[in-house]
Symmetry: D2
Subunit: 283 residues, 4 copies
């Protein structure tokens, strides 16, 4: 799998496809995007592994030398083996719907990933996690206490699982800046509103009060700026005046679950490229 | 058509339906809503006109005496003849999509209303309006000039059409408080975002910058507080990273058009009851 | 909970609401529907249990005597205690998504029901069922063999659970007429297409071949006529030319899961009234 | 604009992009699709006209010689000037919604096309067409009479407008095979159901009878096989038990209008490639 973002200019596609042809690569899926505003070019190309004669390391070295090094400043690219499942750690609190859904998807082998651990500030979801044979770790956050030691322990526990991706699956603690930077672009959150509406706490209560006619959910990368990270996926569902906050919470669970599952799958399949506060999603 | 909102208590439905039975009313459509939070009760009942033996005036007098006067404080109700088409005035600027759509709907007699006039701060849409034989009035808003005389003229021109409803169909001037109060709950606006996201100017530019994956539109009653009035209807459409602001503007037009048409129809059919910042929509 | 369907005439609402007022019933949710084509009237009324002075048996006796017996021929009604959870049996084959979703919903106590047993013609889902502590029974259907003994055993096993509802959660055997009649209106199926499109086997293959741009799922009551029973709920999701049959199967799973969960919940909450080949869904 | 479909093999993208680089072409939009089932490859590439040094004729000659002629058997391609607006003829009967919408879109210059004529078997829409200054031709179809002369006249009248595209915008006559063949892949129809459900006459009546919970519309190319041509676009809207056939007809109009407008725009922008009974839509 090749993903690449670079300054746009004439002939990039020709050079990349020429290179892939040289190494015998059979392209099974190719997507391109030129962004006129930023003047940036993005591509994702899935190549049949058995069609390429050389090793992944050699492929990377040659791609760097023959293509990437002469593309413009700021070029970012990756050549990965999509057969290798990514390691996912889930951070949860008390709500089970996203956790249960992702465990079930992993159980039926729908995700190109392994859920290697579940970490929580509560013990409520330990039982559900155990039913699927996934390790569960409890990191207590005592009410009123200094959170720094808890976050330090969280970092250590999560890093112990060596994750490729950390998913905040309704984890109700705000990550400190330091942890956001440490985990970089590997953290995905599901927020239970259609961002940028209803940032912060109790979005369904906010939505009820405002009288909106649709509620939604947003899957996004986590940055230090709360609920402002690049959006991967969003969706909504219709409500009406008869729906109480409790009804909205219940219907919202289904949207949160689906939006997180879609966003996570696209991330795991290297379909999401970030630039600035926006994402390119090749799906 | 009976619409009513009152403090909730036991037996309201029995009293109303008992009254309607007494006057021989055949209910063709009935909807009820009890709001547990506010403790308020709402209903809308469509009665076959030919099934009622008495005149509308007598019906009103009897309903007041026999039912409404003994309901709780704050009770609001209306008994109207839905056969009488409502008078609609459209306020527009330069964008033709909502105007063209409503003129076409009126042309094919889809709306229980007559569009009696179109008023604009520009002359761009005079030609389109004339093609449908609807009176057009131009109220100039000179750039940089004091807007008060323009709004005074706008008020006079609009009031001259004796409208039941004033629709801001992409009218790009913010009504002053005084005019909002004067027209009361008779003003409907279409805002080109999924409120409360992207309040104010250039919402598609804001949406592009934030990188949202759905764009929307909101039909709401106008209050003195910009884009904060009670919402009648909202909808969204999916976009992706390939959509420029211009693409969003084009796709947004279709959503704006539909959302306004639906919201306006529900208002015209007395399906919308307002309480506080929320609406009950019996559709 | 009162549900009722009867020939439409003047004054039904008044009589029912008058009766409920007499027994002190506080109506928390009320929905009505008059069907002009069939001339039939439908209602569902949720009454606060603690507001009614008499027992459920007495309430039924009085409702029959004072209201229902004098309504027209064919009147059907039920007065039930919605606090009593319904007993659900799931019939499954090899696909785990609907099963896993319903087990997870039951686990988080989202459904007003208890899943009392899972019955399958395969053993594949025994492990998943066991993880949630629900009894699993295997009823073999040998390829090529006479199915009558298997269906007889299925009937016995299912009836042994004394279910209020039998759900075909991707059960890949067609129930014989006799079994449909035996279980009556208590059997709900999820079909993996937007009916009446793509009736029968391999609907996603049919959809791919036809080149449709949306795929869907349908939750319906089972009748002797395959895939023709009254529809409770349907939904669709967008696909495009890039989606293979396998992609459609994967995306279809999410729609099937949601549509079945919604349809089942509405059934469990007595929101679905059947007449002929159609349903009234008070949601 | 380059569109191309050919047997898939290694290196096609490299050859096309190499060619475009040679002539200096700046690609502003590029989409590719490999269909594993048919083993066919499709691409659409938008090139900035001012970036190409040679004339369109020379470009075609060189592309044939240097690329297309050596691609596999059955290869189809087109190089067109997307600045040239296409000529559209609309065929209508009595329903005005699609006609009015397309006239309004053309009026606000939203479509890359000119509506050069409207032809109808009735006179009902002559007035609306005239309001937009578009030529209207009436071709009578007398009830009970032989339709062959009418279709011969229709062919002559339509061909007189020299259309690039013929749109059946709720034209209620079934084109004879001969006319389908004559106009080839230039005819687009809007059918008022979610095909393949409810083929043929009165689809909303069929939908009502079946009790579906969503209604839809389908934009497709016309072939001799009724309602079986390749689908360009479809969409649906939710209905419920309260919606009569008349309500479905009204709500269906909005879906038909939108689906036709989207499908037609994609066709006009050369985004639709047909293969067999399916379409690739690069949107």
């Amino acid at each position: 799998m090749l993903t690449l973002g670079c300054p746009d200019t004439v002939g990039i596609v020709a050079r990349i496809s020429g290179f892939l042809q040289d190494v015998g690569g059979w392209i099974t899926e190719a997507a391109y995007h030129s962004d006129p505003d930023s003047g940036w070019f993005f591509t994702r190309q899935a190549v049949r592994a058995d069609s390429v004669a050389v090793s992944l390391d050699e492929l990377r070295a040659r791609f760097a030398a023959e293509v990437a090094d002469s593309l413009g400043e700021g070029t970012q690219w990756a050549l990965t083996d999509s057969a290798a499942p990514k390691r996912v750690v889930l951070l949860v609190s008390k709500e089970s719907h996203c956790l249960g859904d992702l465990l079930a998807r992993a159980y039926r082998k729908e995700l190109p990933a392994e859920i290697v651990g579940v970490v929580s500030n509560h013990r409520d979801l330990e039982d559900l996690t155990a039913r699927f044979g996934v390790p569960f770790r409890h990191v207590p956050f005592e009410p009123g206490a200094d959170k720094a030691p808890s976050f330090a322990m969280l970092r250590e526990v999560v890093d112990g699982f060596a994750p490729d991706v950390v998913v905040l699956a309704r984890f109700m603690q705000i990550l400190p800046d330091e942890l956001c930077r440490h985990w970089g672009e590997r953290v995905i959150n599901i927020h239970h509103s259609f961002l940028p509406s209803f940032i912060g706490a109790r979005p369904y209560h906010q939505a009820y009060k405002r009288g909106v006619k649709l509620i939604g959910a947003t899957c996004h990368y986590v940055t230090a700026d709360l609920d402002a990270g690049p959006i991967i996926e969003q969706d909504v569902t219709r409500i009406d005046h008869g729906d109480s906050v409790a009804d909205m919470v219940r219907q919202g669970r289904d949207i949160e679950t689906l939006v997180l599952a879609r966003g996570l799958r696209w991330h795991l399949e290297d379909r999401v490229l970030v630039y600035g506060s926006r994402t390119v999603v090749f799906n």
